[in-house]
Amino acid sequence: MPGADWRQAWAASAAEQAMPSTESEEWRYSRVGELDLEQLTPQNQPPTASATDPFDSIERAATVSVVNGWVTSVSLDEGWAAKGLQVGPSTTSADRELPVDPTVFDHLSLAFAPDGVSIQVPDGLLVEAPVVILNHHTGGGVASFSHVSVQVGANASLSIVEHQSSASGGGLAVPVVDLAVASAGRLEMVTVQDLAHDTWQLGRQHSTVADQANLSVGCASFGGAYARLRTDTNLTGRGANGDLLAVYYADGTQVHDFRTFQHHSAKDTTSDLLFKGAVDDQSNSIYTGLIHIHPDGAGSNAHQTNRNVKLSEDAWAWSVPNLEIENNDVRCSHASTVSPVDEDQQFYLHARGVPPTVSDRLIVSGFFEEVIARFSSVVVQDEVRRLVDAKLDRRGGAAS
């Protein structure tokens, strides 16, 4: 928004927006009706808290710490800096625009997000070590708005590992991520969401993938009271590919809510979505996703698979995959399942002398492995396995 007082202008426009309602399809099954923004305060100056790093064994090109949306530290390897990798606070916050289907939270992000993380990879640079983002929320009634913007140049490549954490005491995190991959570039971004169980999160991710470029976005969600992520993946150049992966595991009264869009607006574009989740206790998960093949998307190949395992009678997983196809020369598939732990798999393991508590652990861990194995960093894989195990430990503890 132009003008010197653009933040105030966005704040004013935010004030005019209605809160989303569960009566709309977009927010059906969500807990948005329970959110009271008046109980929350935006962080208007840099905090003193710092984020912990569960990936400290990863050799990296850069580490960025973000606390309550503020970039509190950046350490960039000199070698990669010399080759042109740029990592630092954004200088173009005023140029941010509303995303598609904006909500009050998008207006608030534009008004209140401090200068976010900007990562730029010049054309042709293959960054062989990942950039680590530590995104922390201090809890305690804070509304935090973080923004990460990544631009990967033509024939360049980068991987990003993000860890999201929070202190307990309530609060709302609104992380916004914008990814752009230029011609024949490659970007992998994996986010491990390990928020406190009383933190709310309403995240958005918007990406554009140019011709012959490749984007892989992974999310492993374990924390949050109500944690929602909407992703819009736009395959805009011929031959662009997008892989979308998620692991989520809710227990207690948690709700994990994913809404995905795979937009194929150029020829011969491919996308593959695999989201696998578990729900235990009284928790819920929601998956609503749309593959949209635009009229220019001839030759596209799009897949969307959502599988859920239901670990308790009182837990529920909603799964609503959808297709909108405006060109006939395409291959699309979608699949969705919600079921308890597979009885035949249980029987097979029991018949080998494995007790039920152990067999269910093995089966649930194995269920997630199909996704976890596709994260490129072994350290990230191990952290996600550790978080799955921690959930399974709680389950074992509750049962005994």
């Binding site: 097979y348 393991l349 494995v354 152990v358 861990s365 194995g366 269920f367 997630f368 492995e369």
Partner: protein, 267 residues
């Protein structure tokens, strides 16, 4: 010496009587073949012995060395010394053979410090490619590889009594020989007692039965020596199957021949 004693076992599946009083005793080192026509209850017998969900035992008893097997959950039956090689081994994505064997050893407080070596040596014995040891259990294995995998686990777990449910289905000649020789060796090395459920005699060429039983209509209707298997090879199960046709109810309207349901009724 161990003994699995099945007495007057009756069981239903979805309300249908499948086992109608099975009597069998299998001792250590013995090989018993149970043969019979399709639908006789062969697989039901194997599933009931291990307590697969969906099968209801309505009468009779099964004991292993005097222990009431039917009172135990499946995993404890396995720990007591029963093994089932399944006709259609289940794929368990993301779970390795090692993890399952280790969990089984842990449950019986058996040390798994030598487990990897044991898996490798068993794999070698039955020609199971070692690369499959790292794969998720049964995922993307061919029918023959799955059966080798079942046999490998039998060797690793070293049970008292093994029930082999159509171990020969889906096996090529080489795999059939490797698998049956391994089981035969176990009957001598570890005194394994074996209940072989099969439709054909080809498995019995290498794995030589001491007793052959014919299961028809949910009962053991005939018992003999190995010669009975050869006789069945010649005559088939017509003698036993005939009765099945005359007594089994068909849900279809009259005019459909249950022996040939696809026959043209107007012909």
């Amino acid at each position: 010496m161990s003994e699995l004693v099945i007495k007057g076992l009756t069981a239903t599946v979805a309300g249908n009587d499948i086992l109608r009083g099975v009597d069998l005793t299998i001792g250590s080192g013995e090989v018993h073949a149970v043969m019979g026509p399709n639908g006789a209850g062969k697989s039901t017998l194997s599933h009931v012995l291990l307590g697969k969900p969906g099968y209801e035992v309505t009468g009779g008893s099964v004991t292993l060395d005097g222990k009431d097997v039917l009172a135990l959950p499946t995993w404890e039956r396995a720990q007591a010394g029963l093994f089932l090689a399944m006709q259609y081994p289940t794929e368990v994505p993301g779970v390795s053979l090692f993890d399952v064997m280790e969990a089984s050893f842990d449950a019986s407080e058996r040390s798994s410090s030598q487990l990897q070596e044991l898996l490798e040596s068993e794999a070698k014995r039955i020609g199971f490619d070692e690369k499959f040891l790292l794969r998720p259990l049964n995922v993307d294995l061919s029918g023959g590889e799955k059966k080798r995998n079942e046999t490998l686990q039998l060797g690793v777990l070293a049970p008292k009594i093994a029930v082999l449910d159509e171990l020969d289905s889906g096996l090529d000649v080489d795999a059939l020989r490797d698998v049956s020789r391994r089981v035969e060796a176990l009957t001598e090395d570890t005194n394994l007692g074996v209940l072989v459920i099969t439709h054909y005699t080809r498995l019995l060429a290498e794995l030589r039965p001491d007793y052959v039983h014919v299961l028809a209509q949910g009962r053991i209707v005939e018992t003999g020596g190995p010669e009975l298997a050869n006789q069945l090879e010649d005559t088939g199960y017509a003698e036993y199957a005939e009765e099945v046709v005359t007594t089994s109810a068909t849900p279809f309207a009259s005019g459909i021949d249950p022996a040939d349901p696809f026959a043209d009724p107007l012909a």
